[in-house]
């Protein structure tokens, strides 16, 4: 079954108060290399087989899953694996 992994993040221009607090906590634990932390949302959506999944997922992001005023999103559709498996982690890190 195809599935989409969706990451929604606050726009870089906005203060991410949660990220800032986590960054400070990490710094206080001695991880001095932590320059910035941004916290976002990860969603996995299982989908029925279909032709225009890309377009539909993009539309879902634009209409509901992200707010374009404050957020950016990124998604990947996977067709070749089982959507119940372990999340692959952040896209773009592979």
């Amino acid at each position: 079954m195809p599935y989409a992994d969706i990451i929604v993040t606050l726009k870089p221009t906005l203060l991410d108060a949660q990220g800032r607090v986590v960054q400070n906590a990490l710094l206080s634990l001695g991880y001095e290399k932590v320059m910035n932390v941004r916290i976002g949302k990860y969603m996995r959506m299982e989908l029925a087989e279909g032709e225009d999944l890309e377009r539909q997922v993009k539309e879902m992001c634009d209409r509901l899953l992200a707010n374009p005023v404050i957020e950016n999103y990124h998604f990947e559709i996977h067709r070749d694996a089982d959507g119940n498996g372990t999340p692959p982690g952040l896209p773009n890190t592979e």
Binding site: L10, L14, L15, A17, Q18, V21, L64, L65, N67, V69, I70
Partner: protein, 236 residues
Amino acid sequence: MKVGVIVFPGSNCDQDAYHAFRDNLKQPVELIWHQETDLKGVDLVVLPGGFSYGDYLRTGAIARFAPIMRSVEKFARSGKLVLGICNGFQVLCEAGLLPGALVRNAGLKFVCRYVNLRVENAETALTAHCRVGQVLRIPIAHGDGCYVCDEESYEQLSRNRQVLFRYGEADGRITLDSNPNGSMDNIAGIANERFNVFGMMPHPERATEKLLGSADGRLLLSSLIESVINGARTGA
């Protein structure tokens, strides 16, 4: 004159609004469930505070698609008066009826206390009973009240005097310290371009009787009521 208060699952200031309009401002009020599609002939729609749909995804994001919201959008686009308080403000932003968005308080804490609001524009249906520079004492209670918008919207808000309230000191000075949530430019409440849709994080409905701490919110609710009555009289 009839007021409609929309009730979403998770609204928790709907009864406060109901009480304020019915008992303190002596107006007929009707609670309208989110699954309804008919606004039942009300003249003023109030989207109350609370945590509609548990604030899941984003505050107001799910409520914005509730069946009643199609009617509210039509109502607003026809020029009729809509007031969103706290979560209601968040819903109106999500619905695109007001510019910008509300994000997590800069201090991350849920802040529940009285604030001083400086009135920035007293020529609107919501603020007609106030004067510019007047300081209102009204409570806030929110975790996601930090108002943000893009530069273009901000310029438009400023140019058209759509910012109605800013957080300030008791003497009306606008300071960093008086900003409870990190809102851009201390913005606490705004109007749309037509000045018929209003959103504010503070709760005027919780400030309509001295016994409970402040009656300053009455100035705003009574302004709206008078505006509806005058509008009906002039056929506007």
